[in-house]
């Protein structure tokens, strides 16, 4: 999961970025409206955390322009402007949720999870496929009921695959979800993570499509 954090305050930005990265999200942090638009142009994000009082371009404007371009990226506004009319304006401009400052990190995480879940059309908080279940709230992964220990990147990779179980994900797409800017990506890293996931979840759990990318093995009747 790759998130875009748009926040002009250095302290708040640092804290949010640190907390979310610790939860295995890939996160990019920009500090004004123009940078936010430049980052959004890449189209790699699963969710945007948007402050409203931004230099250069106001957060609401960034949001309206995003929606005018027809992008359905979930947007969570976090702002100190918490008057009802501000909330209404934010939601009307196309925000999916509104979190007034100061907020709690746990609440922020929960709201992010809810938005991501809804984005992928899941009503249930658990992601399940072929006996493997992932709980985004606890970051707990079970295989046939037994807990599986995963590293942060492995967890993020598994989550990306489980979000859209029937989709074929290209290598670049997956890398975009796993790494923020400025994070070194080695050419064979993805192969290493895929390998260790197969080792932990079963060799047939992930299917390689040569020259394109990866997908999950189709769910079979007995497993469901």
């Amino acid at each position: 999961m790759r998130l875009l954090l748009v926040e002009d305050d250095a302290m708040i930005g640092r804290a949010v970025a640190q907390a979310l990265r610790a939860e295995h999200y890939a996160l990019d942090w920009v500090r004004d409206g123009e940078e936010a638009e430049a980052a959004l142009a890449a189209g790699v994000y699963d969710l945007m955390l948007l402050d409203l009082s931004l230099p250069k371009r106001d957060g609401l404007e960034v949001l309206s322009r995003l929606r005018r371009r027809g992008l359905e990226l979930p947007v969570l506004i976090m702002t100190a402007r918490d008057a009802v009319e501000n909330r209404v304006a934010g939601l009307d401009a196309g925000a999916d949720d509104y979190l007034p400052k100061p907020f709690d990190l746990d609440e922020l995480s929960a709201r992010i999870r809810a938005l991501l879940r809804r984005r992928h059309g899941h009503a249930e908080p658990l992601l399940k496929h072929r006996g493997v279940s992932l709980n985004p709230a606890t970051r707990e992964v079970l295989r046939d009921g037994a807990p599986v220990a995963l590293t942060g990147r492995e967890y993020a990779l598994l989550q990306a695959l489980l979000e859209r179980p029937s989709a074929l994900l290209a290598r670049e797409q997956i890398l975009d979800k796993l790494y923020g800017w400025g994070e070194e990506v080695e050419s064979n890293t993805l192969d290493v993570y895929i390998h260790s996931l197969r080792r932990k979840l079963g060799a047939e759990f992930i299917v390689t499509v040569r020259g394109v990318g990866y997908s999950l093995a189709p769910a079979d009747a007995q497993q469901r």
């Binding site: 305050d9 302290m11 708040i12 907390a19 250069k56 402007r81 400052k101 100061p102 709690d104 746990d106």
Partner: protein, 440 residues
């Protein structure tokens, strides 16, 4: 309490009353004159009439008169001009003076005024007299008929004046009602349209005052909202930092989180302090004014900022320090200097230079703080003194109040404070011109 209505009523009614009285007096005088003329003519005619009548040979009186008959009528006497005994005498009770001369005279008979006409006619002296009270009565009767409607007009005029004044004062009442309807929450201007000319200046002045009040109230409300909002930002950072501290797994993370938390606390305190300072530097806030040795103040401020500058790797230099005495609040001026220095040091990149010049012009002390930083884009310069304005795209986490406070201090000291790009060091140049104290 004086009342316009009462004053108008009294003034108008007294005026109208006096006018009516004067008119009545004039009319009465005119009637009196006319009546006199008519009655005089009557007397004269009577005299002529008697002279042409055959006279009795011995004195006689009209027999019909009794002692009780009121003396309304003419009294006629006919005499031989050389004898005091009348030949004809019309009244037994009244005898006309024998010494009477021809012509008009007013005489007193038995305590009453009489009008008498005497004439030598056909060899006889004929005198005709009548009490003046008769004509006075006639005058009064005529006057009463003529003046009664005039008297009746007085209360009518009073009523008209009462209504007219009330009507005239109606806009005043309406305006008062409008003003009464206003409160601190509703300071909308009172409608000026349709108001009488006399009220317009008052209402305009009121509207101006309310406008001013509204602006002040709004500014205060904005300030409180801004201040609360500005405190929310560091408080949000604090909240997050405490939570990160709670989540820290190892000593290293904990140490990092703690140092972030410390910075967050320092920042929150700074914002609160700056808010307090700003409130205290309000132009309405009175502080002790004394002669201030500006040169000493500048030296102290520069010395105080030297450690911070050194920590940021910035050379802070006092390039010139001319002695100058200004009249003002030393504490406020120090805050102004501190904030200018703070600003210069914060926004100048490591390895840069900040210079302070204290010059003395003909009538002003000039303080300059220059830096070798990147300056400020012109479109931001216009807003740089705004409260809570922070230059975008900078790492600096200030309160956004420093320059606003500096400007408040400058305003209080009738000093000018300008910021512009392109000082000798290539960065921002802040200049404050303070009027010199008398004899400074």
């Amino acid at each position: 309490m004086s009342s316009i209505r009462r004053r108008l009523l009294y003034g108008l009614l007294i005026g109208i009353g006096a006018l009516l009285c004067a008119a009545a007096a004039a009319v009465y005088a005119e009637i009196s004159d006319e009546v006199d003329e008519v009655f005089d003519a009557q007397l004269q005619q009577a005299a002529y009439a008697f002279s042409s009548l055959p006279l009795p040979s011995r004195p006689q009186t009209e027999g019909r008169e009794s002692a009780d008959t009121p003396l309304r009528h003419l009294v006629v006497e006919v005499r031989d001009p050389h004898s005091p005994t009348p030949i004809f005498h019309s009244s037994i009770r009244v005898s006309l003076p024998a010494s009477a001369v021809p012509g008009w005279s007013n005489i007193l008979i038995r305590g009453r005024d009489w009008r008498m006409y005497g004439a030598l006619l056909a060899g006889h002296y004929v005198a005709v007299a009548q009490p003046l009270s008769v004509r006075r009565q006639a005058t009064n009767e005529i006057a009463a008929k003529l003046l009664l409607p005039l008297a009746a007009a007085l209360p009518l005029a009073a009523l008209i004046v009462w209504l007219g004044v009330g009507r005239g004062l109606l806009p005043l009442q309406r305006t008062a009602q409008e003003v009464r309807r206003r409160s601190h929450a509703d300071l909308s201007p009172i409608a000026n349209a349709g108001l009488p000319l006399e009220l317009t200046p008052l209402v305009t002045a009121l509207n101006d005052l309310m406008g001013q009040l509204q602006r002040t109230l709004r500014a205060q409300k904005d300030f409180i909202a801004d201040a609360a909002h500005e405190l929310l930002t560091p408080l949000t950072a604090l909240t997050l930092q405490t939570q990160l501290l709670a989540r820290a797994d190892d000593a290293e993370q904990r140490a990092l989180a703690l140092s972030e938390l410390g910075a967050g606390l320092a920042r929150t305190i700074h914002v609160a302090r700056q808010l307090l300072t700003l409130a205290r530097q309000d132009p309405d806030f009175s502080a002790a004014v004394a002669d201030v040795d500006l040169a000493a103040l500048v030296r102290e401020a520069v010395a105080a900022h030297a450690p911070t500058a050194a920590a940021y790797g910035i050379g802070l230099h006092l390039a010139g320090c001319a002695p100058a005495i200004v009249s003002g609040d030393a504490h406020g001026l120090r805050i102004l200097l501190d904030n200018l220095l703070d600003n210069a040091v914060k926004y100048t990149p490591r390895g840069g230079r900040v210079e302070v010049h204290a010059l003395r012009g003909a009538d002003a002390a000039v303080l300059r703080v220059e830096d070798s930083g990147a300056g400020v884009p012109d479109e931001q310069l216009a807003r740089i003194f705004d409260r809570f304005y922070r230059r975008p795209g900078t790492e600096v986490t200030g309160s956004g109040l420093g320059l606003a406070i500096a400007r408040q201090v400058a305003l209080r000291h009738h000093a000018s404070l300008t910021l512009r790009n392109g000082g000798a060091l290539g960065g921002l140049l802040a200049e404050c011109r303070l009027p010199l104290a008398a004899g400074g």
